[in-house]
Symmetry: C2
Subunit: 547 residues, 2 copies
């Protein structure tokens, strides 16, 4: 007999079989709500796939999307891979030239866009070399262009069963944001995404800290807040379908609208980057909903960046249960979740509790994870020694599209190199302390630029700080701090160093971590996504330690 | 990059990483308890694998076991597949000649046996053609023979990491009990068992009716009651390890001892055949524990045979939560579980409730299941039309060992034929009504022999009943009832038919189901496993409807 294939289609059939009557809700800020069910969505997905097929979309064709978290995006998540084509969600925040590069590089044949992006798409069109078909999502607001509308595609389709496809077929592609160099394309097979779905479902159903006991007996609601153009919206559209949870799609992100949805739709679980959580908590409308939120106690899984302790505390005070996840574009994305082992005591001490809570978490099943030295040996689990997080998992991209060199580099020694530098705690948790390219290598030892920056920022005169490694004759590299002072404040190099020496005395950092130099500037260079561009800084200050 | 391999070794590493301090307990009826942990078991599994290796056991070698549910059996479940060899648990209840046939047919190289089976093994030895190494499990009671003892094998091993193996490697084999013809060998790859483990873990962690909400926050205990020589003990040794539950291994089955273990070890979930449940409930010691059982409310998953309503009621009264599972040797085994959909209302009416409860259940994820007619088309989900249950799932055996003809027959049309005849309810549940070989085909329609037998047994004079299909000139087959009366009771053919006519009037069965003949006998022929041998009956009475 042929081997049973691990495909999203088999997950979808199961969802329709068992959860047919469970609701899927689209409730965007502009209104025009849609209340559907998994049963109805199944039918629409089949029709959408057939409709696309009738327009000439076939197996292996790449179908790009420029869309918010709409119900059509949810349908495309199933229909495009389901018909054997390749879903390619585009980050709507990218610069037009990056979008052109990515679409051409991926060879996208179809571009499906939300009406909000109609002007952008008109600008892109002359530069797109491979796109043959444009489809718009009018979102109940009337068409914005003359391109075919997605509801008409669905209308023309018949609800034919999806084909049986091989689990090794590529289901999706996605590009890294590319802070260094050009964006790189990762791809994921049906097998990878099916296993990611099964294992994250297991974690959200049963793991301590993520499972909601009451959701065994009642139908609970998940809010898809993470933009679906970011690594499969973290996979949750598929995961919570398999769990039979009610799902709410909120359209484009709007902090006040999100607060309302949590309260009115009784949202028990959601996920997002720390900035989203911060924007919700500080939104002027939030106090209207805080009482209801405190009653619901939603689990808010934070990923994409570290969860600051202060934000975690603020979230708990507001009624949320903050949790942490870790992953990246290349890993589909989930690698770790901040769950608790059954044998762990959750600390009573507030500081200890938040320290545990904000660690990067424990690997989920089928993720082999190691904090490794440069020879790919595990570093000791002592909470001090730094190493790079390297992983193996069924859902890590096997290569970068058309880039064998970058692929070899990322996969050296048979482990995928995340580029994240971390320490390994005795409890098995990892705690990220830097990006590999930013960590400072001094005399064979590593210094975390992030940790130094955090400490420099505690000086009352400092507004922003970046610590970089600068070439040094004897040590290879030494840390140099680049600092912006607060308006009207004043501080000298020795003030900053003295301030840091207090942390040396308290045993927080070793003495040899102290920067060799502090440079004061008016402005720091930023990347396209708004992060400090340390590459530029390293180039600018590469000679400051030369004798 | 090479594809990440789905192996039990990766599950084991995860269990050790996250659940190192969770207990694994061996508590047999004879005493000599062992209290271990997953961490310690990991170390022992590695040493056992290395120790076997040092004795010449290598990849692909078949390692048979004759053992109760001991902690060594648990260790062998991981160590043998983990080292790339093949685990072959033998049913200790089989007749010696069947064991000889199976061991020779499988080509077992090693036989590991519990001291209780030492006399049996001495009898088998002269007839075993392929076994080169015998290992005994002395079970803390001193050696029974001169064969090497398993603790010495473990002592001589070093805790070397298990090798990386391909997911397509065969991990286990098992033989069907073979009521018709010779036992048939099924086999399972690492991939099959890893997926079975992941999906059953998901069901036991999150599915309504099987998940225990309190077990998210506390460490709960699973009792491995199902003999581990029956289809992987239903897979639960692996499943509950992945879930991080505490596990208790009870040695050989003893109903009174089981009741004590449930109460004293605070068992929250266990599984077994209906007879086991019956024996526990009716054991003279049970009343001593009933109060504690009522407090714990253990989930008892019944499989291997239908759960009679009366037994389900009795179990609930005694404090258990009875649940149903369905599968077979060829399917690793789980195909369906009697969970509830999130949108289902659990009936208040007692009869309706038990009717729902005792259905064969709903498929678990990745199980494609269909009740099909003879042309492999799904029968209507009307709760009436009979068909055969056919399935596809990642954990169904791809073939019968060395038997291409039986393989072709079982897998005709690309679906595995279970040989179980069922009706399909509108809610998606299946309800088994007969074995395919026993169902009576009358004029192109099917009559369930089991249902007729159940109704005949409600006649006060009837002790036992078997209904068989007998060749008939016009109808192909017609039902004939073969009946044993209770001692001292009397009834004639027309009494039995009149009794059945009441069920016709009540709409329970159609009129054309009424048997053409009732034959009274003193005795019914039995198979080796104690079931009524209908094959013999059909031969004996094949001419009774001839004109």
């Amino acid at each position: 007999m042929e081997t049973y294939q691990l495909t999203l289609n088999n997950i979808l059939k199961y969802v329709k079989e068992i959860y047919s009557d469970v609701e899927v809700v689209y409730r965007p800020p502009h209104g025009n709500d849609i209340r559907s069910t998994y049963g109805r969505e199944y039918e629409r997905v089949l029709k959408l796939a057939d409709g696309l097929n009738k327009l000439g979309v076939g197996p292996g064709d790449r179908v790009a999307t420029l869309d918010w978290n709409t119900i059509w995006h949810f349908e495309l998540y199933w229909a495009v891979p389901g018909m054997g084509a390749v879903l390619h969600p585009l980050n709507v925040r990218l610069a037009p030239e990056d979008l052109v590069y990515i679409i051409n590089h991926a060879g996208d044949k179809v571009l499906i866009y939300h009406r909000d992006f109609a002007p952008l798409v008109e600008k892109l069109k002359p530069h797109l070399k491979t796109v043959q078909l444009y489809i718009q999502i009018a979102d109940g607001q009337g068409p914005a262009t003359k391109d075919v509308e997605i509801e008409d595609v669905i209308k023309q389709g018949e609800p034919k069963p999806l084909p049986e496809i091989s689990e090794d077929k590529v289901a999706t592609i996605g590009y890294t944001s590319g802070t260094t160099g050009r964006p790189k394309g990762a791809y994921f097979t049906h097998r990878a995404l099916t296993l990611h779905t099964l294992v994250s479902a297991l974690a959200f159903a049963g793991f301590r800290g993520f499972a909601r006991p009451e959701c065994v007996e009642e139908i609970c609601t998940f809010l898809q807040l993470v933009p679906m153009f970011h690594v499969h919206g973290w996979g949750t559209p598929w995961t919570f379908a398999l769990l039979g949870w009610r799902q709410v799609y909120p359209g484009r992100f709007d902090a006040g609208h999100t607060a309302r949805l949590i309260a009115e739709e009784n949202v028990k679980s959601l996920a997002g980057v720390p900035t989203m959580l911060y924007m919700i908590l500080t939104h002027p409308d939030f106090p209207k909903y805080v009482e209801k939120v405190r009653k619901i106690r939603p689990i808010f899984t934070v990923g994409g960046a570290a969860l600051p302790k202060e934000l975690a505390k603020k979230a708990e005070e507001a009624g949320f249960i903050p949790r942490v996840g870790y992953g990246m574009t290349e890993t589909a994305p989930i690698l770790t979740l901040g769950f608790f082992k059954p044998t762990e005591k959750i600390p009573k001490d507030v500081e200890e509790y938040y320290h545990l809570l904000t660690a990067t978490g424990l690997p989920i099943p089928l993720v082999d994870l190691m904090v490794a030295d440069e020879n790919l040996r595990p570093v000791p689990r002592d909470g001090k020694t730094m190493g790079e997080i390297v992983v193996r998992a069924p859902w890590v991209t096997p290569e970068y599209l058309g880039d064998p060199e970058k692929t070899r580099e990322a996969w050296r020694g048979g482990w995928f190199h995340t580029g994240d530098v971390a320490i390994w705690q005795p409890d098995g948790r990892v705690r990220i302390v830097d990006r590999a390219k930013d960590v400072i290598k001094s005399g064979g030892e590593w210094i975390s630029s992030l940790q130094l920056e955090d400490l420099i920022l505690t000086h009352p005169a400092v507004a922003q700080a970046a610590v970089i490694g600068v070439p040094h004759e004897m040590w290879g590299e030494r840390p140099v701090a680049v600092v912006i002072l607060k308006p009207g404040a004043s501080a000298k190099e020795e003030d900053i160093i003295k301030h840091l020496e207090k942390f040396v005395e308290a045993g927080k950092i070793p003495k040899w971590w102290l920067p060799d130099k502090v440079i004061f500037v008016q402005q720091l260079p930023l990347t396209g996504t708004g992060k400090i561009d340390k590459k530029v800084l390293r180039e600018q200050f590469k000679d400051v330690l030369k004798k």
